[in-house]
Symmetry: C2
Subunit: 216 residues, 2 copies
């Protein structure tokens, strides 16, 4: 597979010259910068190497190809997301939608995420890497908000763990999917009014009366 730096330190050889750890950070930073300026298709390995002040061969010793490099460069950004307790389920949902939208608004995030997903449609290994590096890591937000809402009595407590897992996945895909789709496919901005309307829809359903969205 790849010689990514994410391979644990236990696997690293105990002999020989150690890899310069700072180079990893420099390369990933350079990759993000190059993505912003050039986009996916015009990003070249040679350019990343020179930005990071590293030989191109060093780059290939650590990552097998462009896709895996970009995944690692972007995965970190998603870890910035947190879910502060805003007192109610509705406020929590609204908050995470806005934070996620903000994250997706950064050019390196949007470009990298879609490009990697596109490549993954023909590369099962890449799919797996996306799931472990991004999807599974972010599901924690849903689990957290769900547990919090259950503690508040806003949501029924789930007994069957299998059902709970399916429901969490469903909610995750609905929230993340809506934000991604509006931002990247429909190319329309996400403001507080949209977040509010979306939250109303998710919590109360389509059959409820029209959401209290500000006119404008």
């Amino acid at each position: 597979m790849s010689s990514s730096p994410s391979s644990g330190p236990g696997l690293s050889p105990r002999t020989g010259r150690p890899r310069r750890a700072a180079a990893d950070a420099a390369i990933l930073e350079a990759t993000r910068a190059a993505l912003v300026e050039l986009g996916w298709s015009k990003l070249t390995m040679g350019d990343v190497a020179s930005r990071a002040k590293v030989a191109k061969t060093t780059l290939y010793r650590r990552w097998a190809n462009k896709s895996e490099l970009v995944i690692d460069a972007v995965a970190l950004l998603f870890d910035e997301l947190d879910l502060p307790d805003r007192g109610s389920l509705a406020a929590d949902v609204e908050g995470v939608v806005l934070r996620f939208a903000e994250l997706l608004d950064r050019p390196e995030t949007k470009t990298a995420l879609m490009a990697v997903v596109a490549e993954s449609t023909h590369d099962p290994a890449l799919q797996a890497r996306i799931r472990t590096s991004i999807v599974d890591r972010q599901k924690r937000l849903v689990l957290e908000g769900r547990a919090r809402a259950q503690a508040r009595g806003e949501l029924p407590t789930e007994t069957d763990p299998a059902v709970a897992a399916r429901t969490s996945s469903l909610i995750f895909d609905v929230i993340a999917g809506a934000v991604v789709h509006r931002t990247l496919v429909s190319s329309e901005p996400i403001d507080e009014a949209w977040a509010h309307a979306f939250t109303h829809l998710i919590l109360n359903g389509l059959t409820a009366v029209a959401p209290p969205m500000e006119r404008g």
Copy 2:
């Protein structure tokens, strides 16, 4: 911009040798085939040209670059979607989710859609083309289903057209986004159980009791 064939016939010159119309269809078909076999990054213009039995220069005379070619090649596929009346809003939503998931399951669709979206993050012209060629065309499904549900009395009739437009866009992003995200990002299949649970969520909201999903 581009010399796409979508430029109306009124703009075509009335003199000189006319373009061979069949070549367009052959090129688009070849593009889809190449996408399936090679994926986005390994698809080359030369390969498409030879598949379509057309000179590479002819290809460049009609499309400016790979992205615009791929958009035109894929936009047609989305027109296949329709929305048969299944008797209720819930059944309609469930139906369109399954049909859309089916469409996204085809390798040429998923590969092309994501790749083009990724490129569009650095190309406003491409964004506009995606909106007109795909997004706006598919919103008709939402409008259709909504009108049908209102006729049945399942949804309140909207008076303010601006509010109605915003609501339709919201619903579109939620439905399409959830399907796209689960299929392409989470890499999990969409079956009838998921469609059922999703529909329940959209119609009744998160605060309702757990959806009647078959155990398994």
